[in-house]
């Protein structure tokens, strides 16, 4: 079964408190190379066929349910 990956990320201008919390924890653990963290979501969708019609539907559901276009951006890709 092909798998389609939908990544959802908070828009760059939207504050990401979760990412900030993760970033804040890193120096306490001795990791000092990271200058910023943003946290998003990854959805793995199993589909019968990764054809054009299916991908169009995935784009639609990603913009309708998986992400909120007011605060988030999404990308769709077929898992190799």
């Amino acid at each position: 079964m092909p798998r389609v990956i939908v990544d959802v990320m908070p828009k760059p201008e939207i504050l990401d408190p979760q990412g900030k919390a993760v970033h804040g924890a890193l120096p306490r653990l001795g990791f000092n190379a990271v200058t910023d963290v943003r946290q998003g979501k990854r959805f793995e969708l199993e589909v019968a066929a990764a054809d054009e019609a299916t991908l169009a539907e995935v784009h639609q559901l990603a913009g309708t349910l998986l992400s909120n276009p007011v605060i988030e951006d999404y990308t769709v890709r077929v898992d190799a």
Partner: protein, 223 residues
């Protein structure tokens, strides 16, 4: 006058909202998320809580509950609809109100008696309040930061659609201290703080919340 209160899986404040309706002098009707039925109510309240466990995003799954088809159609037709806390999040996810609610900027859950300033007393839910009046009602949320793009915020401010603003402290990072907003028509109102918890001296910081419910009842009688 009948005011319906929707119960979603994970709603917490539905019984308090029904109680507030009764104390305000209305008839409270329990509505179920899975029914395509508003049971003939004259207004609807979407209560606070954690519908569907706040999975995905707060309000994102509740927005597609069967009853919401009827709520959205009724709101578009002018029925008074009030969203409190999680209900506000559901109204934003439903696009009945613009913007979105994100995690508090300080990352802590907050629970306090919050002072609000009334900025719009022309909505279905605030007609018994007055502009400039300050009310104190409980606020309790983890994801109450109101955000919207600059154009939307300018439109809300310019059209007087900010209904409530936080006073003294901004408890969650909301843009322009916005605590509650309304739609263009003024029948749909959403706010993060909880008026239904301030309807009796015994169980809340006062009775400042009662005005929202009496406003709706009055707007229905005079409509």
């Amino acid at each position: 006058m009948k005011i319906g209160v929707v119960t979603f899986p994970g709603s917490l404040d539905d019984s308090d909202a029904r109680r507030a309706v009764r104390i305000a002098g209305g008839e409270a009707v329990a509505l179920w998320h899975g029914d395509h039925d508003l049971k003939g109510v004259d207004a609807v309240i979407l209560p606070g809580g954690f519908s569907y466990g706040d999975y995905l995003r707060c309000g994102a799954i509740a927005r597609f509950a069967p009853v919401m088809t009827e709520v959205i159609a009724a709101a578009d037709g002018g029925m008074p609809v009030l969203g409190i806390c999680n209900g506000f999040q559901i109204l934003c996810e439903s696009h009945l109100l613009p913007g979105a609610l994100i995690r508090n900027d300080h990352r802590h859950f907050i629970c306090r008696d919050q002072t609000l300033k009334v900025e719009n007393a022309a909505t279905s839910w605030t007609s018994e309040l007055s502009v400039g009046q300050e009310i104190v009602i409980p606020l309790k949320n983890g994801e109450g930061g109101f955000v919207a793009d600059a154009d939307t915020v300018a439109r809300l401010e310019g059209d007087g659609r900010v209904v409530f603003r936080y006073v003294d402290v901004n408890p969650n990072g909301s843009i322009n201290d916005i605590a509650g907003i309304t739609n263009e028509r003024g029948n749909v109102v959403g706010l993060m703080p909880h008026p239904e918890h301030a309807v009796e001296d015994l169980t809340g910081p006062g009775i400042d919340g009662l005005g929202l419910f009496t406003s709706a009842l009055k707007s229905l009688t005079t409509a």
